[in-house]
Amino acid sequence: MDLGQFVSYIASGTVYTVGVTLISLPAGLLIGIILALLYVYGGKTAARVLNLYSTIFRGIPPVVLLFILFFAVSKGINLSAFWAGSLSLGVVSSAYQMEIVRGALLSVSGDQMMAARAVGLSRLQAIRYVVIPQAIRLAIPPWSNEAAIIIKDSSLVYALGVPEILRRAQLIGASSQKYLPAYISAAIIYFLLVFITTHLLTLLEKKLAIPSNP
């Protein structure tokens, strides 16, 4: 086997890594946004419950939570390892994303909410037209960090049998007894994925930035 075939075998796992990321990240975002809005604007009971959710789901190691959710999901529904793993990773991420969105909402809220109400906007309108547009911009940098984390944590699903990058590296490393080049190739591919993603998000941040003269 030549180097080209070697590396491309590993690289073919990229599709799965990207797939896992593209399912878990948005899933986590959707759940995270809904929960964050409830946390900030839903009253004391909701806040207390969600604080508990945050503490528990962020206090358990991702791999442990991943295993719990994966096996729980597999008991109930017949999903492939890929889907079960991705959705489970999404739930893991949701707690962290909730905190990111919550942080951004709180940074904006206070004064901006007051100014919006003073003009006659209802609470809902104020959240929708004044708080959220500004919060989105604040959330991008920490969210970019979370995206990088998910890309890296997607490697955990190799343990569930998903044929992503790390799994492929392991397989070909075992068959060729060349573990070092295999894992280094894997590392390079992950690095490129993270690098490209964070750069794209930085571009997005710049594009959405509100003009100002410093």
């Binding site: 004064d111 901006q112 007051m114 100014a115 919006a116 109400r117 003073a118 003009v119 006659g120 906007l121 209802s122 309108q125 037209y129 004044v130 547009p133 500004q134 911009r137 509100i210 003009p211 100002s212 003269n213």
Partner: protein
């Protein structure tokens, strides 16, 4: 004697044990410019926030044009369409242009069409002298310009009363003048205004009545002439003397 546009009766506000003010009474006639002065932390801002229901008083009532706005079923959002507020820190919506800031209330609350809203907004921006900055974002405007946009934003809703909460306290000295000028013109145009400020020159020239508040009580109120030249209470005299000295000096330095 025409009926007051704004009546405050027996207003009390406390946070737990801490009494901000109590048993406050105040009548404001249409077209009046009332300036409230006094040491910081004596409840002046809180009083303003009660008038547009951003804060709810513990006791007492407020009437705006015969409607009791502090009544249980009152629609707060509705009330705030008729009371404009200008904040010390401007609090412009940072993600919108000056025009966008002024338009937001018009399109989302008054349900105007985009064209109507733009027309009205530009009218108000012209009124405060910022028509040429309509497409600038708050981050691109000076403090004085931001505050004037804030005034335009409040005016666009055609309020019955305008509340100014220390509008120039966060401004560099050289930018204060442009904002006070807009306010002065507003008063001349007949707007009913409640202004909390330390700007004594403005108070002396523009106010119909000056109210001196300290520790949550109205110590004294009267016309500018009465307050500055023949104050009844020594505390009033003391405060005005100190602050006029300070600000008179500031004005001289700025020249």
């Amino acid at each position: 004697m025409p009926k007051p546009i704004l009546t405050i009766k027996n207003l009390t506000k406390k946070y737990g044990e801490n009494v901000i003010f109590q048993h406050l009474d105040l009548d404001v006639n249409e077209g009046d410019t009332i300036v409230i002065i006094g040491p910081s932390g004596t409840g002046k801002s809180t009083l303003l926030r009660c008038v547009n229901l951003l804060t709810r008083p513990n006791e007492g009532q407020i009437w705006l044009d015969d409607e009791e706005i502090t009544a249980k079923g009152a629609d707060e959002d509705q009330v705030r369409q008729h009371v404009g507020m200008v904040f010390q820190n401007f609090l412009l919506f940072n993600h919108l242009t000056a025009l966008g800031n002024v338009k937001l209330g018009l399109t989302k609350v008054k349900h105007m069409s985009d064209a109507q809203a733009t027309e009205k907004a530009m009218h108000e921006l012209t009124r405060v002298g910022l028509a040429d900055r309509a497409n600038h974002y708050p981050g691109q405007l000076s403090g004085g310009q931001q505050q004037r946009v804030g005034i335009a934003r409040a005016l666009a809703m055609d309020p019955r009363v305008m509340l100014f909460d220390e509008p120039t306290s966060a401004l560099d000295p050289e930018l204060i003048g442009e904002v006070l000028e807009v306010m002065r013109q507003l008063a001349l145009d007949g707007m009913t205004m409640l202004v909390v400020t330390h700007e004594m020159g403005f108070a002396r020239e523009v106010a119909d009545r000056i109210i001196f508040m300290e520790k949550g009580y109205i110590v004294e109120e009267g016309s500018p002439d009465e307050m500055f030249n023949h104050p009844k209470f020594p505390r009033t005299r003391e405060f005005l003397w100190k602050i006029t000295e300070l600000y008179g000096k500031k004005e001289k330095d700025a020249e």
